[in-house]
């Protein structure tokens, strides 16, 4: 093989047309595969996802500036493919997970430790390649040596009402020298459960990948199914999806702002934010029949309608929410004691956010101008108007402000969608079953959710892969906490608010 050189995805795809889902699909050889990975490391494109299906490894790549998305595939050779992580660190954990779950060997993967497989499963995942070796599950944390260093081990059961995960801090006095995360505790085998399932069953499973992003996941799954089957949801359903997605975003952003203040010991703001959040959840329940709108978005449309009064109910919710939340924002903006905790705490550099393709508030607080709704818009966002929140500082404070601005834009978006809402059906009939592929990206409150789906000719799920935004945010938390005091970890962690379940799947 000739020496690979950094390759821009755009150079490979100049004359190719994207599928109905907006992705160009391309089979390439190992040299180009490595070249594209090197291109990711050089910032020529973003790594969106990495997965294995059938006898090939697949890599999702994005070039937001060109509105270009591409899925490249390289055939597996004796169960192995050239490691992307060897050139591009953002892929390390993705490839470690692939080793554990698929039994493939990403050749040259710099970190050979297991990730999702903790050595506890009585039988290997059914998705494992036949005869593949299971990874060695003894686990060595990275060493940190030096005088005066001590370690603090936290989790998987945490002190608060939090998901399970393990954090290993190495500290020098109060200052964190290194944080190493150990995840995978919430692994439920979701991709394997989806395989072979009919669409409706798989939709219910996907809706529970990360409960806090249930609307976003159902949305992404629906888009992927619809692309695979050339299924067009009716216009009313498209707008209702958007309204639900923004209600979900609103509820979490409001809550996170409060929770961050809580971790900075200003409890009263948290209490106020939880009241606003409760109002949103109750309204969601009243309008769509479930507080978190679980299973409300389904392939082909939506499962519940918004009544005529429902629109008014949401309007008045927005009035109350706006007032309640702005009161909190005023205090946040004026309280130096609070900003003393958040400003310059937990900084993520712009360089790192870009390299890891960090989405959501983590990326946008560190100058990465990426929002799926803007860069790769899906219905109904093409016809809606909003400004992307963007900050440069990369600290806890910037992540708070991104959320604050997104609360405002979400409310404006909901108002726009309510105006556009026309009567009509909620579902369109499912087309005849056929084999097909579809991929989708949806902006959850946390960042871009990626989903790739392959259906067999009976329209059952032949393969499903999802990548949570947390996958590219968790590694940055390790960087953000470095040099901060241990006591600021909860604050930094909350300002990220990564999903454990979404990451572990």
């Amino acid at each position: 093989m000739k020496r690979p050189v950094p390759l821009a995805a755009a150079a490979l795809t100049a004359k190719l047309k994207a599928g109905p889902d907006g992705f160009i699909r391309l089979r390439i050889d190992e040299r180009d595969w490595i070249g594209l990975a090197m291109g990711c490391a050089e910032g020529l494109q973003d790594l969106l996802a990495l997965w294995v299906d059938d006898d090939a490894a697949h890599m999702g790549l994005g070039v937001p500036a060109l509105k270009l998305r591409i899925i490249v595939s390289v055939p597996l050779k004796h169960g192995s493919f050239p490691s992307v992580a060897k050139n591009h660190a953002a892929a390390i954990r993705l490839e470690r997970a692939l080793r554990d779950l698929r039994g493939v060997d990403p050749k040259g993967l710099p970190d050979q430790r297991n990730w999702i497989d903790h050595g506890k499963w009585p039988s290997p995942p059914p998705s494992m390649k036949k005869g593949a070796e299971r990874p060695d599950t003894s686990y060595a944390f990275l060493a940190a040596e030096g005088e005066g260093l001590h370690q603090i081990a936290v989790g998987p059961v945490h002190a608060g009402i939090i998901e399970p995960g393990h954090f290993r801090f190495t500290a020098n006095g109060e200052a964190v020298v290194r944080l190493e995360e150990r995840l995978g505790y919430a692994h439920k085998g979701i991709e394997a459960l989806c395989r072979g399932a009919d669409i409706a069953t798989a939709a219910r499973i996907v809706a529970r990948i990360s409960g806090d992003s249930t609307v976003a996941y159902s949305y992404a799954f629906a888009l992927a199914v619809e692309a695979a089957l050339k299924w067009r949801p009716p216009p009313r359903a498209i707008l209702l999806r958007g309204i639900m997605a923004e209600l979900e975003r609103l509820s979490h952003h409001v809550n996170d702002v409060g929770a961050i203040c809580n971790d900075a010991s200003v409890v009263v703001l948290h209490a106020h934010c939880t009241l606003v959040r409760e109002d949103i959840l109750r309204t969601s329940n009243q309008c769509f029949g479930h507080r978190m709108m679980m299973d409300c978005i389904v392939p082909g449309g939506v499962a519940t309608d918004l009544s005529g009064e429902g629109a008014d109910v949401i309007e008045s919710l927005l009035m109350r929410c706006g007032a309640g939340f702005e009161a909190v924002v005023r205090v946040y903006d004026e309280a130096p004691s609070l900003q003393d905790r958040t400003v310059s705490t937990g900084v993520v550099s712009a360089e790192l956010a870009k390299r890891f393709g960090a989405g959501g508030h983590v990326g946008r607080a560190s100058g990465r101008a990426f929002d799926t709704r803007k860069n790769f818009p899906y219905a109904p966002y093409e016809e809606l108007d909003f400004t992307m929140a963007l900050h440069e500082e990369g600290d806890v404070d910037a992540r708070v402000w991104v959320r604050i601005e997104e609360v405002r834009s979400s409310m404006a978006l909901i108002r726009q969608m309510l105006k556009l809402l026309v009567p009509g059906p909620l579902m369109s009939a499912m087309p005849k079953a056929r084999a097909g592929e579809g991929a989708a990206m949806v902006e959850s409150f946390r960042g871009d959710v990626f989903a790739a789906l392959r259906l067999d000719d009976t329209a059952r799920v032949a393969n499903f892969h999802a990548r949570d935004p947390s996958c590219f945010q968790w590694p940055l938390l390790e960087a953000a906490i470095e040099g901060n005091i241990v006591a600021d970890f909860p604050l930094c962690n909350k300002s990220f608010n990564c999903s454990y379940s979404g990451h572990d799947m």
């Binding site: 903790h118 506890k120 499963w121 009585p122 039988s123 290997p124 995942p125 059914p126 998987p156 059961v157 002190a159 608060g160 009402i161 939090i162 998901e163 399970p164 995978g184 505790y185 919430a186 692994h187 439920k188 085998g189 979701i190 394997a192 459960l193 069953t201 219910r204 499973i205 529970r208 990948i209 990360s210 409960g211 806090d212 249930t214 809550n255 009263v268 703001l269 209490a271 106020h272 939880t274 009241l275 959040r277 409760e278 959840l281 329940n285 507080r291 978190m292 679980m294 009161a327 909190v328 005023r330 205090v331 004026e334 309280a335 999903s499 454990y500 379940s501």
Partner: protein
């Protein structure tokens, strides 16, 4: 800040009326709570939450019962940071194999008498995750359970009803 604090004082209360203890919960507890268990802890219970592999939907609603609307602390129920301080383990999720040991250890670290509440459909029967190679089972398959609160996720008012039933039964 001061005006917000002041307004919070005079704005009136957001709290919902206390619900009746859930009748299904009372019936289940009549079966599970032994005589010795009722040897009173007063009206106060310390709860330790354990996520044994949930999708985090259940956690969101557990957070909600701590908000000023449901205000679970007015019933003497308080979430604590360590199982060693806890009377009750509130467990969510299908128990994943990767969390099984941590759950067992948390249970062992909780001093007796102790009670276990399995919250959510996953905790009761693994929910949509049933049959996965990665799930060890429902909570009752791993540690003894005294009360189930169903739902996906259970709304906060249902969580309150279940927990109130636990307090009420303990007073007997």
């Amino acid at each position: 800040m001061r005006s917000l604090l002041f307004r919070s004082l005079i704005d009136g209360s957001a709290v919902v009326a206390p619900p009746q203890p859930g009748s299904a919960a009372v019936a289940e507890l009549a079966q599970t709570l032994g005589q010795q268990a009722r040897a009173c802890l007063g009206r106060s219970l310390a709860i330790r939450e354990v996520d044994a592999g949930s999708c985090n939907g259940c956690e969101l609603e557990i957070h909600a019962i701590n908000n000023p609307v449901y205000d679970v602390e007015r019933f003497g129920l308080k979430f604590v940071a360590s199982p060693r301080h806890a009377d009750v383990l509130l467990v969510t999720g299908p128990v994943t194999w990767n969390m099984r040991q941590a759950l067992e250890r948390t249970y062992a670290a909780t001093p007796s008498p102790k009670w276990v509440v399995a919250l959510g459909d996953c905790a009761a029967n693994c929910g949509v995750f049933a049959g996965s190679y990665a799930c060890a089972g429902a909570v009752k398959d791993i540690i003894p359970v005294d009360l189930h609160i169903g739902g996906c996720p259970p709304p906060p008012i249902e969580i309150l009803k279940g927990l109130l039933a636990l307090v009420a039964e303990m007073k007997k």
